[in-house]
Protein backbone atom coordinates (compact mmCIF):
# COMPACT_ATOMS: atom_id res chain seq x y z
CA UNK A 1 0.00 0.00 0.00
CA UNK A 2 1.51 3.36 -0.95
CA UNK A 3 2.40 5.55 1.99
CA UNK A 4 -0.28 8.15 1.28
CA UNK A 5 -3.02 5.52 1.51
CA UNK A 6 -2.18 4.84 5.14
CA UNK A 7 -1.19 8.38 5.91
CA UNK A 8 -4.09 10.16 4.25
CA UNK A 9 -3.88 13.90 3.93
CA UNK A 10 -6.38 14.45 6.72
CA UNK A 11 -4.23 12.34 9.09
CA UNK A 12 -1.13 14.35 8.29
CA UNK A 13 -3.11 17.55 8.68
CA UNK A 14 -4.28 16.60 12.18
CA UNK A 15 -0.75 15.42 13.03
CA UNK A 16 0.91 18.63 11.93
CA UNK A 17 -1.87 20.90 13.20
CA UNK A 18 -3.47 19.05 16.08
CA UNK A 19 -6.85 20.36 17.23
CA UNK A 20 -7.53 20.87 20.92
CA UNK A 21 -3.99 19.95 21.91
CA UNK A 22 -3.88 21.91 25.13
CA UNK A 23 -4.12 21.51 28.85
CA UNK A 24 -7.49 22.21 30.43
CA UNK A 25 -7.03 23.61 33.94
CA UNK A 26 -10.76 23.58 34.72
CA UNK A 27 -11.40 20.06 33.44
CA UNK A 28 -13.60 17.95 35.71
CA UNK A 29 -12.04 14.78 34.40
CA UNK A 30 -8.66 13.81 33.05
CA UNK A 31 -6.64 10.67 32.57
CA UNK A 32 -3.12 9.77 31.44
CA UNK A 33 -2.23 6.61 29.60
CA UNK A 34 0.72 5.31 27.66
CA UNK A 35 1.40 2.68 25.06
CA UNK A 36 4.17 0.58 26.59
CA UNK A 37 4.98 -0.79 23.15
CA UNK A 38 6.22 2.48 21.74
CA UNK A 39 6.41 4.85 24.70
CA UNK A 40 3.61 7.08 23.46
CA UNK A 41 1.95 9.10 26.21
CA UNK A 42 -1.31 10.96 26.26
CA UNK A 43 -3.43 12.89 28.74
CA UNK A 44 -7.06 13.55 27.88
CA UNK A 45 -9.08 16.30 29.58
CA UNK A 46 -12.88 16.46 29.68
CA UNK A 47 -15.14 19.38 30.55
CA UNK A 48 -18.77 18.46 31.13
CA UNK A 49 -21.65 20.88 31.31
CA UNK A 50 -25.41 20.45 31.18
CA UNK A 51 -25.16 16.68 30.91
CA UNK A 52 -22.91 16.91 27.87
CA UNK A 53 -19.24 16.40 27.11
CA UNK A 54 -18.72 19.97 26.07
CA UNK A 55 -14.99 20.11 25.52
CA UNK A 56 -12.28 17.50 25.12
CA UNK A 57 -8.57 18.24 24.81
CA UNK A 58 -5.32 16.31 24.98
CA UNK A 59 -1.58 16.67 25.46
CA UNK A 60 1.17 14.16 24.94
CA UNK A 61 3.58 12.80 22.43
CA UNK A 62 3.35 10.03 19.94
CA UNK A 63 3.31 8.97 16.34
CA UNK A 64 1.17 10.57 13.67
CA UNK A 65 -1.48 7.88 14.01
CA UNK A 66 -1.97 8.30 17.77
CA UNK A 67 -1.77 12.09 17.62
CA UNK A 68 -4.11 12.55 14.65
CA UNK A 69 -6.58 10.03 16.04
CA UNK A 70 -6.70 11.91 19.35
CA UNK A 71 -7.06 15.22 17.54
CA UNK A 72 -9.98 13.97 15.44
CA UNK A 73 -11.51 12.38 18.52
CA UNK A 74 -11.68 15.68 20.39
CA UNK A 75 -13.69 17.18 17.53
CA UNK A 76 -15.91 14.18 17.00
CA UNK A 77 -17.13 13.82 20.59
CA UNK A 78 -17.50 17.45 21.67
CA UNK A 79 -21.12 18.34 22.39
CA UNK A 80 -22.30 14.74 22.73
CA UNK A 81 -23.95 13.13 25.73
CA UNK A 82 -22.02 10.48 27.64
CA UNK A 83 -24.10 7.76 25.99
CA UNK A 84 -23.40 9.17 22.57
CA UNK A 85 -19.68 9.39 23.34
CA UNK A 86 -19.69 5.79 24.54
CA UNK A 87 -21.39 4.73 21.30
CA UNK A 88 -18.83 6.66 19.26
CA UNK A 89 -15.94 5.05 21.17
CA UNK A 90 -17.55 1.65 20.56
CA UNK A 91 -17.94 2.16 16.82
CA UNK A 92 -14.41 3.53 16.50
CA UNK A 93 -13.04 0.44 18.21
CA UNK A 94 -15.22 -1.66 15.92
CA UNK A 95 -13.76 0.05 12.88
CA UNK A 96 -10.23 -0.54 14.20
CA UNK A 97 -11.04 -4.20 14.80
CA UNK A 98 -12.21 -4.42 11.20
CA UNK A 99 -15.69 -5.37 12.42
CA UNK A 100 -17.60 -2.19 11.69
CA UNK A 101 -17.85 -0.59 8.27
CA UNK A 102 -17.73 3.08 9.21
CA UNK A 103 -20.70 5.27 8.44
CA UNK A 104 -19.11 8.26 6.73
CA UNK A 105 -21.82 10.63 7.93
CA UNK A 106 -21.30 9.76 11.57
CA UNK A 107 -17.57 9.27 11.33
CA UNK A 108 -16.52 12.16 9.16
CA UNK A 109 -12.77 12.55 9.00
CA UNK A 110 -12.23 9.53 11.25
CA UNK A 111 -12.84 7.30 8.24
CA UNK A 112 -9.33 8.27 7.17
CA UNK A 113 -7.97 6.02 9.93
CA UNK A 114 -9.55 2.93 8.40
CA UNK A 115 -6.30 2.10 6.59
CA UNK A 116 -4.63 1.47 9.96
CA UNK A 117 -6.63 -1.76 10.32
CA UNK A 118 -4.17 -3.45 7.96
CA UNK A 119 -1.35 -2.75 10.41
CA UNK A 120 -2.28 -4.53 13.66
CA UNK A 121 0.70 -3.07 15.53
CA UNK A 122 -0.49 0.45 14.76
CA UNK A 123 -4.10 -0.13 15.85
CA UNK A 124 -2.95 0.36 19.44
CA UNK A 125 -1.66 3.79 18.45
CA UNK A 126 -5.01 4.73 16.91
CA UNK A 127 -7.09 3.70 19.93
CA UNK A 128 -4.79 5.12 22.65
CA UNK A 129 -6.62 8.46 22.86
CA UNK A 130 -10.02 6.76 22.80
CA UNK A 131 -9.08 4.32 25.56
CA UNK A 132 -7.86 7.25 27.61
CA UNK A 133 -11.05 9.24 27.02
CA UNK A 134 -13.15 6.29 28.09
CA UNK A 135 -11.03 5.84 31.23
CA UNK A 136 -11.36 9.55 32.03
CA UNK A 137 -15.15 9.38 31.72
CA UNK A 138 -15.17 6.29 33.94
CA UNK A 139 -13.39 8.32 36.61
CA UNK A 140 -10.21 6.25 36.40
CA UNK A 141 -7.98 9.28 36.00
CA UNK A 142 -6.50 11.81 38.38
CA UNK A 143 -8.55 14.64 39.82
CA UNK A 144 -8.78 17.67 37.57
CA UNK A 145 -5.71 19.86 37.39
CA UNK A 146 -3.35 17.24 38.83
CA UNK A 147 -2.78 15.28 35.64
CA UNK A 148 0.71 14.75 34.33
CA UNK A 149 2.32 17.35 32.06
Amino acid sequence: MPLDELYKEVILDHYKNPRNKREMPDAELSCSRNNPLCGDEITVFVHEEGGKVLDVSFVGQGCSISQSSASMMTESVAGKTRDEVAAQVGSFRGMMAGEVEPDEDAFGELVALKGVVKYPVRVKCAVLGWDTLQAALAGEGEAAGTAAH
Binding site: L3, Y7, L37, G39
Partner: protein, 416 residues
Protein backbone atom coordinates in the same frame (compact mmCIF):
# COMPACT_ATOMS: atom_id res chain seq x y z
CA UNK B 1 25.90 -3.31 -7.41
CA UNK B 2 29.65 -3.68 -7.91
CA UNK B 3 31.14 -6.79 -6.39
CA UNK B 4 34.20 -4.85 -5.35
CA UNK B 5 31.97 -2.66 -3.19
CA UNK B 6 30.81 -5.76 -1.34
CA UNK B 7 34.23 -7.03 -0.39
CA UNK B 8 35.13 -5.40 2.88
CA UNK B 9 37.66 -6.08 5.59
CA UNK B 10 38.01 -9.74 4.76
CA UNK B 11 34.35 -10.62 4.17
CA UNK B 12 33.12 -11.52 0.72
CA UNK B 13 29.67 -10.08 1.29
CA UNK B 14 28.36 -10.86 -2.20
CA UNK B 15 29.07 -14.54 -1.59
CA UNK B 16 27.64 -14.36 1.93
CA UNK B 17 24.42 -12.79 0.69
CA UNK B 18 23.90 -15.68 -1.70
CA UNK B 19 23.78 -17.99 1.34
CA UNK B 20 20.72 -16.24 2.79
CA UNK B 21 17.56 -17.22 0.89
CA UNK B 22 15.44 -14.57 2.60
CA UNK B 23 17.49 -11.76 1.07
CA UNK B 24 15.81 -12.68 -2.23
CA UNK B 25 12.52 -11.41 -0.81
CA UNK B 26 11.19 -8.25 -2.40
CA UNK B 27 8.90 -5.54 -1.12
CA UNK B 28 7.03 -3.40 -3.64
CA UNK B 29 9.29 -4.80 -6.34
CA UNK B 30 12.61 -4.00 -4.67
CA UNK B 31 14.83 -6.39 -2.70
CA UNK B 32 14.45 -6.05 1.05
CA UNK B 33 17.15 -4.19 2.95
CA UNK B 34 17.43 -6.04 6.24
CA UNK B 35 18.79 -3.76 8.95
CA UNK B 36 17.30 -5.39 12.04
CA UNK B 37 19.82 -8.05 13.03
CA UNK B 38 20.10 -6.72 16.58
CA UNK B 39 16.47 -7.81 16.85
CA UNK B 40 16.96 -11.15 15.16
CA UNK B 41 19.39 -12.25 12.47
CA UNK B 42 18.58 -13.99 9.22
CA UNK B 43 19.57 -17.64 8.73
CA UNK B 44 21.93 -19.05 6.12
CA UNK B 45 20.88 -22.03 4.04
CA UNK B 46 23.33 -24.20 5.98
CA UNK B 47 21.38 -23.63 9.21
CA UNK B 48 18.01 -24.18 7.55
CA UNK B 49 19.27 -27.37 5.87
CA UNK B 50 20.73 -28.67 9.13
CA UNK B 51 17.37 -28.33 10.89
CA UNK B 52 15.55 -29.97 8.00
CA UNK B 53 18.03 -32.82 7.88
CA UNK B 54 17.74 -33.32 11.63
CA UNK B 55 13.97 -33.69 11.41
CA UNK B 56 14.12 -35.81 8.28
CA UNK B 57 16.89 -38.18 9.39
CA UNK B 58 17.66 -38.06 13.11
CA UNK B 59 14.69 -36.83 15.14
CA UNK B 60 14.23 -38.56 18.51
CA UNK B 61 14.20 -37.50 22.14
CA UNK B 62 17.50 -37.27 24.00
CA UNK B 63 19.15 -39.61 26.51
CA UNK B 64 16.17 -41.87 27.18
CA UNK B 65 15.95 -44.20 24.22
CA UNK B 66 18.40 -46.93 23.23
CA UNK B 67 17.74 -47.03 19.51
CA UNK B 68 20.04 -45.61 16.88
CA UNK B 69 18.02 -42.49 16.10
CA UNK B 70 18.06 -41.39 19.73
CA UNK B 71 21.77 -41.99 19.98
CA UNK B 72 22.32 -39.85 16.89
CA UNK B 73 20.13 -37.05 18.22
CA UNK B 74 21.90 -37.14 21.59
CA UNK B 75 25.32 -37.11 19.96
CA UNK B 76 24.38 -34.17 17.73
CA UNK B 77 22.96 -32.23 20.66
CA UNK B 78 26.00 -32.83 22.85
CA UNK B 79 28.28 -32.01 19.93
CA UNK B 80 26.45 -28.67 19.60
CA UNK B 81 27.25 -28.03 23.28
CA UNK B 82 30.93 -28.68 22.66
CA UNK B 83 30.90 -26.36 19.63
CA UNK B 84 29.31 -23.53 21.62
CA UNK B 85 31.79 -24.06 24.45
CA UNK B 86 34.71 -23.84 22.03
CA UNK B 87 33.18 -20.80 20.31
CA UNK B 88 33.32 -18.72 23.51
CA UNK B 89 36.48 -20.31 24.90
CA UNK B 90 34.80 -22.20 27.74
CA UNK B 91 37.22 -24.84 29.04
CA UNK B 92 34.47 -27.14 30.38
CA UNK B 93 31.74 -28.33 28.04
CA UNK B 94 29.60 -28.89 31.15
CA UNK B 95 29.63 -25.15 31.79
CA UNK B 96 27.26 -24.62 28.82
CA UNK B 97 23.58 -24.81 29.74
CA UNK B 98 21.25 -24.88 26.77
CA UNK B 99 18.05 -22.86 26.82
CA UNK B 100 16.11 -20.32 24.78
CA UNK B 101 18.67 -17.56 25.10
CA UNK B 102 19.51 -14.48 27.09
CA UNK B 103 16.19 -13.81 28.82
CA UNK B 104 15.93 -17.36 30.07
CA UNK B 105 19.60 -17.40 31.03
CA UNK B 106 19.44 -14.29 33.19
CA UNK B 107 16.28 -15.54 34.84
CA UNK B 108 18.10 -18.80 35.49
CA UNK B 109 20.98 -17.03 37.23
CA UNK B 110 18.72 -14.62 39.12
CA UNK B 111 16.69 -17.53 40.44
CA UNK B 112 19.08 -20.44 40.80
CA UNK B 113 22.03 -18.36 42.02
CA UNK B 114 20.29 -15.18 43.21
CA UNK B 115 17.60 -16.68 45.39
CA UNK B 116 20.10 -19.10 46.88
CA UNK B 117 22.87 -16.66 47.70
CA UNK B 118 21.46 -13.11 47.89
CA UNK B 119 20.73 -11.82 51.40
CA UNK B 120 19.17 -8.75 52.93
CA UNK B 121 21.55 -5.82 52.52
CA UNK B 122 23.23 -7.24 49.43
CA UNK B 123 23.26 -5.25 46.24
CA UNK B 124 22.87 -6.09 42.57
CA UNK B 125 24.52 -3.48 40.38
CA UNK B 126 23.47 -2.91 36.77
CA UNK B 127 23.91 -0.12 34.26
CA UNK B 128 21.47 2.45 32.93
CA UNK B 129 21.69 0.95 29.43
CA UNK B 130 20.60 -2.58 30.32
CA UNK B 131 17.87 -4.39 28.42
CA UNK B 132 14.77 -5.11 30.53
CA UNK B 133 15.91 -8.73 30.66
CA UNK B 134 18.96 -7.68 32.68
CA UNK B 135 16.92 -5.49 35.05
CA UNK B 136 13.59 -7.12 35.81
CA UNK B 137 14.91 -10.59 36.84
CA UNK B 138 17.18 -8.82 39.35
CA UNK B 139 14.32 -6.74 40.71
CA UNK B 140 12.38 -9.96 41.24
CA UNK B 141 15.32 -11.71 42.91
CA UNK B 142 15.95 -8.67 45.11
CA UNK B 143 12.32 -8.53 46.17
CA UNK B 144 12.40 -12.23 47.07
CA UNK B 145 15.61 -12.02 49.12
CA UNK B 146 15.65 -8.56 50.68
CA UNK B 147 18.58 -7.50 48.54
CA UNK B 148 18.44 -4.22 46.63
CA UNK B 149 19.31 -3.07 43.12
CA UNK B 150 21.54 -0.12 42.20
CA UNK B 151 22.05 1.49 38.84
CA UNK B 152 25.22 2.94 37.36
CA UNK B 153 24.47 6.02 35.22
CA UNK B 154 25.91 6.32 31.73
CA UNK B 155 27.59 9.41 30.25
CA UNK B 156 25.91 11.91 27.92
CA UNK B 157 27.67 10.39 24.91
CA UNK B 158 26.27 6.95 25.76
CA UNK B 159 29.53 5.56 27.06
CA UNK B 160 30.03 3.98 30.46
CA UNK B 161 32.69 5.54 32.68
CA UNK B 162 34.31 2.54 34.38
CA UNK B 163 35.40 4.66 37.35
CA UNK B 164 31.77 5.56 38.06
CA UNK B 165 30.85 1.90 38.10
CA UNK B 166 33.85 1.06 40.27
CA UNK B 167 32.90 3.80 42.73
CA UNK B 168 29.64 1.93 43.37
CA UNK B 169 31.31 -1.44 43.98
CA UNK B 170 31.40 -2.21 47.71
CA UNK B 171 31.51 -5.33 49.84
CA UNK B 172 27.71 -5.28 49.64
CA UNK B 173 27.81 -5.76 45.87
CA UNK B 174 27.10 -9.41 45.15
CA UNK B 175 26.26 -9.20 41.45
CA UNK B 176 27.43 -7.00 38.60
CA UNK B 177 24.89 -7.44 35.79
CA UNK B 178 26.15 -5.73 32.68
CA UNK B 179 25.70 -5.81 28.93
CA UNK B 180 28.66 -6.69 26.74
CA UNK B 181 27.27 -4.50 23.97
CA UNK B 182 24.24 -2.24 24.29
CA UNK B 183 21.37 -3.18 22.00
CA UNK B 184 20.46 0.50 21.68
CA UNK B 185 23.73 2.47 21.85
CA UNK B 186 26.18 -0.15 20.65
CA UNK B 187 28.33 0.79 23.66
CA UNK B 188 30.85 -1.89 24.61
CA UNK B 189 31.93 -1.49 28.24
CA UNK B 190 35.40 -2.77 29.07
CA UNK B 191 34.15 -6.05 30.51
CA UNK B 192 37.58 -7.40 31.36
CA UNK B 193 38.47 -4.44 33.55
CA UNK B 194 35.04 -4.25 35.19
CA UNK B 195 34.98 -7.99 35.86
CA UNK B 196 38.32 -7.72 37.65
CA UNK B 197 37.04 -4.78 39.72
CA UNK B 198 33.84 -6.61 40.62
CA UNK B 199 35.73 -9.74 41.56
CA UNK B 200 37.94 -7.66 43.85
CA UNK B 201 34.88 -6.95 46.05
CA UNK B 202 33.64 -10.54 45.77
CA UNK B 203 30.80 -9.98 43.30
CA UNK B 204 29.85 -12.39 40.53
CA UNK B 205 29.83 -10.96 37.02
CA UNK B 206 26.84 -11.68 34.78
CA UNK B 207 27.30 -10.48 31.22
CA UNK B 208 24.37 -10.07 28.85
CA UNK B 209 26.04 -11.37 25.72
CA UNK B 210 23.01 -11.15 23.42
CA UNK B 211 24.66 -8.48 21.24
CA UNK B 212 28.31 -9.12 22.15
CA UNK B 213 28.67 -12.77 21.18
CA UNK B 214 27.24 -12.57 17.64
CA UNK B 215 29.52 -9.73 16.58
CA UNK B 216 32.88 -10.14 18.33
CA UNK B 217 35.50 -12.72 19.18
CA UNK B 218 34.68 -13.68 22.78
CA UNK B 219 36.77 -15.67 25.22
CA UNK B 220 35.24 -16.18 28.66
CA UNK B 221 38.58 -17.11 30.21
CA UNK B 222 40.27 -13.98 28.93
CA UNK B 223 37.33 -11.78 29.99
CA UNK B 224 37.16 -13.70 33.28
CA UNK B 225 33.39 -13.43 33.64
CA UNK B 226 31.27 -15.76 35.75
CA UNK B 227 28.19 -15.94 33.55
CA UNK B 228 27.69 -15.08 29.89
CA UNK B 229 24.39 -15.35 28.05
CA UNK B 230 24.11 -16.39 24.41
CA UNK B 231 21.13 -15.71 22.12
CA UNK B 232 21.44 -18.08 19.18
CA UNK B 233 18.82 -16.37 17.05
CA UNK B 234 20.91 -13.19 16.91
CA UNK B 235 23.93 -15.11 15.55
CA UNK B 236 22.42 -16.79 12.49
CA UNK B 237 20.93 -19.61 14.56
CA UNK B 238 17.29 -20.62 15.05
CA UNK B 239 14.96 -18.82 17.43
CA UNK B 240 14.92 -20.33 20.94
CA UNK B 241 18.52 -21.54 20.62
CA UNK B 242 21.46 -20.48 22.77
CA UNK B 243 22.11 -20.71 26.43
CA UNK B 244 24.24 -19.78 29.38
CA UNK B 245 27.90 -20.11 30.15
CA UNK B 246 28.55 -20.38 33.86
CA UNK B 247 31.75 -20.98 35.75
CA UNK B 248 31.47 -24.65 36.67
CA UNK B 249 31.99 -24.28 40.43
CA UNK B 250 29.21 -21.68 40.50
CA UNK B 251 26.84 -23.88 38.50
CA UNK B 252 27.61 -26.77 40.82
CA UNK B 253 26.66 -24.74 43.88
CA UNK B 254 23.39 -23.53 42.43
CA UNK B 255 19.84 -24.74 42.97
CA UNK B 256 17.90 -26.06 39.98
CA UNK B 257 15.91 -23.50 38.00
CA UNK B 258 12.99 -25.53 36.71
CA UNK B 259 12.10 -28.94 38.04
CA UNK B 260 11.04 -31.85 35.87
CA UNK B 261 12.28 -34.77 33.86
CA UNK B 262 15.95 -35.28 33.02
CA UNK B 263 17.29 -32.84 35.63
CA UNK B 264 17.03 -35.34 38.49
CA UNK B 265 18.99 -38.33 39.77
CA UNK B 266 16.39 -39.83 42.08
CA UNK B 267 12.91 -38.72 43.01
CA UNK B 268 11.07 -39.57 46.22
CA UNK B 269 7.66 -38.37 47.37
CA UNK B 270 9.13 -35.63 49.54
CA UNK B 271 12.41 -34.77 47.86
CA UNK B 272 14.68 -35.35 44.91
CA UNK B 273 18.37 -35.34 44.10
CA UNK B 274 19.67 -33.47 41.11
CA UNK B 275 22.03 -34.13 38.27
CA UNK B 276 25.29 -32.24 37.90
CA UNK B 277 25.46 -29.24 35.57
CA UNK B 278 24.54 -28.69 32.82
CA UNK B 279 21.69 -31.23 33.01
CA UNK B 280 20.53 -29.92 36.38
CA UNK B 281 19.32 -26.85 34.48
CA UNK B 282 17.77 -28.63 31.52
CA UNK B 283 14.37 -29.89 32.62
CA UNK B 284 12.04 -31.51 30.13
CA UNK B 285 12.45 -32.09 26.41
CA UNK B 286 15.04 -29.68 25.10
CA UNK B 287 15.22 -27.46 22.01
CA UNK B 288 17.12 -30.18 20.18
CA UNK B 289 16.77 -29.08 16.55
CA UNK B 290 17.45 -25.47 17.50
CA UNK B 291 20.74 -26.13 19.28
CA UNK B 292 21.88 -28.41 16.46
CA UNK B 293 20.99 -25.59 14.07
CA UNK B 294 23.00 -23.21 16.24
CA UNK B 295 26.04 -25.45 15.86
CA UNK B 296 25.72 -25.04 12.09
CA UNK B 297 25.52 -21.27 12.57
CA UNK B 298 28.68 -21.37 14.68
CA UNK B 299 30.44 -23.30 11.92
CA UNK B 300 29.37 -20.65 9.45
CA UNK B 301 30.56 -17.78 11.69
CA UNK B 302 33.89 -19.48 12.38
CA UNK B 303 34.45 -19.99 8.68
CA UNK B 304 34.01 -16.27 8.18
CA UNK B 305 36.12 -15.48 11.23
CA UNK B 306 34.78 -13.46 14.16
CA UNK B 307 37.51 -10.85 13.86
CA UNK B 308 36.65 -10.39 10.17
CA UNK B 309 33.02 -9.97 11.14
CA UNK B 310 33.94 -7.38 13.75
CA UNK B 311 36.12 -5.51 11.24
CA UNK B 312 33.37 -5.55 8.62
CA UNK B 313 30.82 -4.17 11.07
CA UNK B 314 33.21 -1.56 12.42
CA UNK B 315 33.64 -0.26 8.90
CA UNK B 316 29.88 -0.26 8.23
CA UNK B 317 29.24 1.44 11.58
CA UNK B 318 31.62 4.28 10.76
CA UNK B 319 30.03 4.63 7.33
CA UNK B 320 26.52 4.48 8.79
CA UNK B 321 27.14 7.11 11.48
CA UNK B 322 28.58 9.51 8.90
CA UNK B 323 25.72 8.87 6.48
CA UNK B 324 23.03 9.38 9.13
CA UNK B 325 24.63 12.52 10.50
CA UNK B 326 25.04 13.91 6.98
CA UNK B 327 21.23 14.05 6.61
CA UNK B 328 20.72 15.61 10.03
CA UNK B 329 19.92 12.52 12.09
CA UNK B 330 21.05 12.40 15.72
CA UNK B 331 22.83 9.12 16.35
CA UNK B 332 22.84 7.95 19.98
CA UNK B 333 25.82 6.29 21.60
CA UNK B 334 29.57 6.69 21.15
CA UNK B 335 30.71 7.90 17.74
CA UNK B 336 34.01 6.00 17.79
CA UNK B 337 33.44 2.63 16.08
CA UNK B 338 36.34 1.20 18.08
CA UNK B 339 34.28 1.25 21.28
CA UNK B 340 30.88 0.37 19.92
CA UNK B 341 29.02 -2.21 17.87
CA UNK B 342 26.78 -1.83 14.86
CA UNK B 343 23.42 -0.99 16.42
CA UNK B 344 22.67 2.56 15.26
CA UNK B 345 19.78 4.15 17.14
CA UNK B 346 18.83 7.56 15.88
CA UNK B 347 16.30 10.36 15.93
CA UNK B 348 15.43 11.99 12.62
CA UNK B 349 13.67 15.30 11.99
CA UNK B 350 11.21 14.82 14.85
CA UNK B 351 9.39 12.14 12.88
CA UNK B 352 8.16 9.55 15.34
CA UNK B 353 10.10 6.27 14.98
CA UNK B 354 6.94 4.31 14.28
CA UNK B 355 6.07 6.58 11.40
CA UNK B 356 9.63 6.45 10.11
CA UNK B 357 9.81 2.66 10.22
CA UNK B 358 6.41 2.39 8.54
CA UNK B 359 7.58 4.67 5.74
CA UNK B 360 10.85 2.76 5.37
CA UNK B 361 8.91 -0.47 5.08
CA UNK B 362 7.37 0.80 1.86
CA UNK B 363 10.88 0.75 0.41
CA UNK B 364 11.60 -2.67 1.91
CA UNK B 365 13.97 -1.20 4.51
CA UNK B 366 13.54 -3.22 7.72
CA UNK B 367 14.47 -1.30 10.90
CA UNK B 368 13.14 -1.40 14.44
CA UNK B 369 11.26 1.47 16.04
CA UNK B 370 10.50 1.58 19.74
CA UNK B 371 12.12 1.57 23.15
CA UNK B 372 14.06 -1.62 22.42
CA UNK B 373 13.16 -3.03 25.84
CA UNK B 374 15.26 -0.29 27.41
CA UNK B 375 12.78 2.15 28.94
CA UNK B 376 15.26 3.21 31.62
CA UNK B 377 17.71 4.23 28.91
CA UNK B 378 15.01 5.98 26.83
CA UNK B 379 14.27 8.23 29.82
CA UNK B 380 17.96 9.06 30.05
CA UNK B 381 18.11 9.86 26.34
CA UNK B 382 14.97 11.99 26.65
CA UNK B 383 13.11 10.30 23.80
CA UNK B 384 10.02 8.07 23.85
CA UNK B 385 11.60 5.73 21.32
CA UNK B 386 14.30 5.56 18.70
CA UNK B 387 14.65 4.08 15.25
CA UNK B 388 17.40 1.48 15.10
CA UNK B 389 19.30 0.13 12.13
CA UNK B 390 21.68 -2.72 12.90
CA UNK B 391 24.23 -4.61 10.84
CA UNK B 392 25.50 -8.11 10.34
CA UNK B 393 27.62 -10.15 7.95
CA UNK B 394 25.28 -9.70 4.98
CA UNK B 395 24.98 -5.92 5.11
CA UNK B 396 26.68 -3.55 2.71
CA UNK B 397 27.27 0.15 2.24
CA UNK B 398 24.50 -0.02 -0.35
CA UNK B 399 22.12 -1.02 2.46
CA UNK B 400 23.14 2.12 4.36
CA UNK B 401 22.63 4.19 1.21
CA UNK B 402 19.15 2.69 0.78
CA UNK B 403 18.35 3.52 4.41
CA UNK B 404 19.45 7.11 3.98
CA UNK B 405 17.53 7.58 0.72
CA UNK B 406 14.38 6.16 2.28
CA UNK B 407 14.80 8.33 5.39
CA UNK B 408 15.06 11.47 3.29
CA UNK B 409 11.85 10.53 1.47
CA UNK B 410 10.10 9.89 4.78
CA UNK B 411 11.43 13.12 6.24
CA UNK B 412 9.98 15.10 3.34
CA UNK B 413 6.65 13.26 3.62
CA UNK B 414 6.16 13.99 7.31
CA UNK B 415 7.76 17.44 7.34
CA UNK B 416 5.64 19.94 9.23
Amino acid sequence: MAVTEQRSAGLDVARIRADFPILERTRNGAPIVYLDSANTSQKPRKVIDTITEYYERHNANLYRAVYELAEEATAMFEDARARLAAFIGAPDVASIVFNRGTTESINLVANAWGRRFLREGDEVLFTEMEHHSNIVPWQLAAAATGASVRMVPIEDDGSLDPTKLEALLTDRTKVLAITGQSNVLGTMPSIKRLAASAHAVGAVVVVDGAQLVPHNPVDVVELDVDFLTISGHKMLGPTASGGLYGRLELLEAMDPFMGGGEMVMEVFPDHATYKAPPHRFEAGTMNIAEEIGLAAAIDYLEELGMQNIRNHERELTAYGIDALESIGATVFGPKDPEVRGGALSFWYKDVHPHDLAQALDEDGVCVRPGHHCAQVLMRRLGVPATTRASFYVYNTREDVDALVASLEKAGAFFAA
